[in-house]
């Protein structure tokens, strides 16, 4: 696995939406840095200037500072901007901005201890029926073999392949406990909760081999619940899908 994508800062971003998350993270760290440096310099200066020494006395009446009020109003305004210009619209885009269904690649992601089951609908674009009662080690998704819609479905374990430039709608669920589906390079993270189906979407701008991480403690194997996240050019993706459908 190529390690040029990851370092000491934010991982590389290959999504269409992630830059907005990064922008917010960077802006807010600048706000934090300004506040901290302001506070800290004032603290150090005060400690030096008002250190106890012979001939120096404390003042009972100190002047009334106007700066804190100004500071608090500024912080409040900054927070309003961070909320309305960044966080609200970004969250709206992530959770409500799903692309039109006919243009997207649909995929189901079913988490279990300690693997990611990936389920593609195949050429007919319709998922076959699944039933928890049919789940077994050879049929981890519980696909119903009698359902004609399911015969062309493709399922993999720990292998999420997507094409570049096509929005993906993923329906996330879990078979057992709470997991969290994390694609560091896409700035995508969403809990997979048993009993719930949560849809999310993302679109990749570059090809490459990346990883899926589990971000929520899910048991003994949580640390190795790693999946492969492969972004291919469309042709290559189609070829992979065709091959996967035959095996």
């Amino acid at each position: 696995m190529n390690n040029n994508y990851y370092g000491w800062g934010l991982p590389v971003d290959i999504s269409t939406t992630g830059w907005r998350v990064d922008e917010l993270i960077i802006v807010i760290h600048w706000v934090m840095a300004v506040l901290f440096v302001g506070w800290f310099s004032f603290l150090i200066y005060s400690l030096f200037r008002f250190r106890s020494r012979p001939g120096h006395k404390a003042e009972y009446h100190t002047k009334h500072f106007k700066t804190p009020t100004v500071l608090e109003v500024l912080v409040a305004i900054t927070e309003v901007v961070l909320l309305t210009a960044f966080s609200f619209p970004i969250w709206h885009q992530y959770t409500q901005g799903l692309p039109p269904a006919e243009k997207a690649l649909h995929v189901k992601v079913v988490a279990e201890q300690f693997a990611w089951n990936i389920h593609y609908p195949g050429p007919d674009r319709v998922f076959g029926k699944a039933d928890p009662k049919l789940m077994s080690s050879t049929n981890p998704l519980g696909l119903d073999p009698s359902d004609p819609m399911g015969t062309d479905d493709v399922s993999t374990i720990n292998q999420l392949h997507i094409p570049v430039g096509v929005p993906v709608i993923a329906e996330l669920s879990s078979k057992d406990v709470i997991h969290s589906f994390f694609l560091p390079v896409m700035r995508v993270k969403q809990d997979a909760i048993p009993g719930q189906k949560i849809s999310l979407w993302f679109e990749a701008t570059k090809s490459g081999e990346f990883e899926i991480a589990c971000a929520q403690l899910c048991g003994l194997g949580h640390y190795r619940m790693r999946g492969f996240f492969v972004v291919d050019e469309k042709d290559k993706f189609n070829a992979w899908m065709a091959e996967a459908a035959h095996t």
Binding site: N3, A58, V75, F88, I178, E211, H222
Partner: protein, 578 residues
Amino acid sequence: MSHDASHGHELPFWRKYIFSVDHKVIGIQYAVTGLLFLFFGFCLMMLMRWQLAYPGQPLPFIGNLFSETAMIGGIMLPEFYNQLGAMHGTIMVFLGVVPLAVGGFGNFVLPLQIGAPDMAFPKLNMVSYWLYFTGGVLMFASFFVPGGAAQSGWTSYAPLSVIASSGQTWWLVGMAFLINSSLLGSINFIVTTVQLRAPGLSFSRLPFFVWSQFVTSFLLLLAFPPLMAAAVLQLMDRLAHTSFFMPSGLVVNGQVLEGFAGGGNAVLWQHLFWFLAHPEVYVLILPAMGIISEIIACNTRKPLYGYKALVWSVVFLGFMSFIVWAHHMYLTGMGPNLSAFFQVTTMIISIPSIVILTTLILSLWGGSIRFTTPMLFALAFLPMFGIGGLTGLPLGLNAADIHLHDTYYVIGHFHYVVAPGTIFALFAGIYHWFPKATGRQMNNFLGKLHFWPSFVLMNFIFMPMLIQGLAGVSRRLYDPMQYAHAQPTQPLNVFISISAWCLGLAQIPFIVNFFWSIFKGKKTDQNPWQATTLEWTAPSPPPHGNFVKEPVVYRGPYEYSVPGQKNDFWPQAMKENN
């Protein structure tokens, strides 16, 4: 009647020091037990740090002392790592910091500061300590039950916790004891503060420490009952196979999970848990703010800047802390409206925190600052709490939280608040009130030898975690090397671990100082710091009943350097300053 009977010297040892009803003895019991648990919780973490720095390598020297269920040939097993993680969090929060901050300092200092002879309900106070003690014993014992201690994180998210081994049951029962201990304690604090203030001590003259404990008690009283309910529900899910937190159709390990009717909701547990656990964060921080306010006023020799702003901020903070809890749950499938609500409340709660921090820093202006050991810890609290608070901002905005949620950024953030924040304040409080409790002062040189390395090492530990979090490294990973995105920051894990072990060594001066000073410390009079609040008008150590004669209060809590006065401090209970 029982109170009168317990006066005098004829009390047997076990009534005087073990099953005592004296708030000072109970306070010291809480403090010592809390310190022991803090140390134990710290040891658990130091073990985890070996696995994080050197994954899969045998632990040298002591690795072979552990049983086969924890380590094989000194190599830690993932189940043991998860136990250490869950119990480190539980012990530090519920058995270490809160008992020390509220049970210890609250019990010892609050009645003295309000001029009361004892708590309003001394027997309830004793029950409260022994419930805590029992809860602690159960938590400790759970390491030795089959399958080991709880291993689903200190948050115990269902369904993982419901299907976990029997240690989780012990955890829930232990929590029930701790919750009831806190409930009894909080009622006691509220009644004591309202009813037993000395004549003249109006609410506007209360030391800020008392205000902080008062608000904290309301948080405990109102936030813990929902967790009690949640703990009982989870216990029922585990033992009676109800399905409060168990949805239908679970398939665990390839098998349909039998015995549960299903139909429950896994997220319900998170709501109930965080409805407690967010106010709990303020239970951890408010008493710390109270402690350092006292120490800053005393060591700057001037009144606090903006006492009223501090009091209103802390009351507002307490109120707001009840409506921010779901910011821990942004990624549970929350829609834009609900998340907008919790983001707005979270941003609003940052304002009083900023007011408090700014006010405390401005209190230094115009002072004559003495750099005593307690003051050094109190001063270090300010920038450390500042970093802790500021790093909460990106986590509170859920768009930024998408990337940072459940990463080491979160760990760095809340440890900045609690470790170099609250725990430094607790150390400050120990150095400050030690002379009152023992009549002897702690050694200043050893105190500074404790402070400086601790201050540097705390930052060496938690600052790199923020970097790891930005890189996307998830928390609670037994072996971070499994992930490509976690590998580049692995050298930081080595650095953090070495710093953590050094931090362990840096506590030796404190331990030596603590025990040495009890017996050999410099003897002091009743007011060694020349402070103004009521506890310093009682003898050191105060006798049973506290004050030689009931104090009468004439003025506010921080009358330092009053113009025209001979002394630079004017105690609350002294009519004329001479």
